[in-house]
Symmetry: C2
């Protein structure tokens, strides 16, 4: 946590991480967006959580909070006869996820110029001709 | 943490919180920006930390990390003969803080339209005619 390399490693793309605070008790950031994508891709809250190394309990709680904060749920669960059933993104879930990704892309585009200037101030990061 | 009010409380302004990831080991977000502002306003790392209810140790560590990640320090400390001396923002510190605040403003402006659409999907938040 204290470290800061002084020689340039392979550089990750600078990123603007966006957290949208919709109200006191609900925010959407990279984590919740990735979790929604996980549900969409895997059809399961447990699998979506595992993909992010997140406990089932935590994944479930995050989704439960989102479901209760929006007028209609973002994730619908199908309870099987035994064990944990599947889950899918609802139409609202798809809309919220898509809106977040659009906002993220717009925010990133809006700060690109400043990002370059900030990076130039970092230690050990001489111009490499890369973007 | 689980709560989500279903009746509309006085609404805070929706906010886009921005976290700028400059490299693997250095990011600047609302917390570090507020800390830099605290140093500028109070002339003291301890006082800047207190203002955020942050321990002196944590405030010091965050600033030390920033100082070592940039080519020139963002915060300069003046060690007195006894106890903790004062601290000031350097020219680089002012530049980084100003760049972050500009990026934040640009990001927020870039997502305003989408924010309104997202808010309309929240539970218990009927149109009030307010922005």
């Amino acid at each position: 946590m204290l470290g800061c390399m002084t020689t340039a490693p392979p550089e990750p793309r600078p990123a603007a991480r966006l957290r949208i605070v919709l109200a006191d008790d609900i925010a959407i950031g990279p984590g919740k967006a990735e979790l929604l994508e996980g549900v969409r891709d895997t059809g399961s809250i447990a699998a979506a959580g595992r993909r992010m190394k997140m406990s089932y309990k935590r994944a479930w709680m995050l989704i439960d909070t989102m479901n209760r904060c929006f007028a209609t749920p973002l994730v619908a669960t199908v309870r099987g006869g035994a064990g944990r059933g599947g889950a899918t993104l609802t139409e609202t879930g798809e809309a919220v996820l898509a809106a977040y990704r659009r906002m993220e892309a717009r925010a990133e585009a809006a700060v690109q110029d400043e990002l370059g200037a900030l990076k130039a101030l970092l230690a050990g990061r001489q111009e490499t001709g890369r973007e």
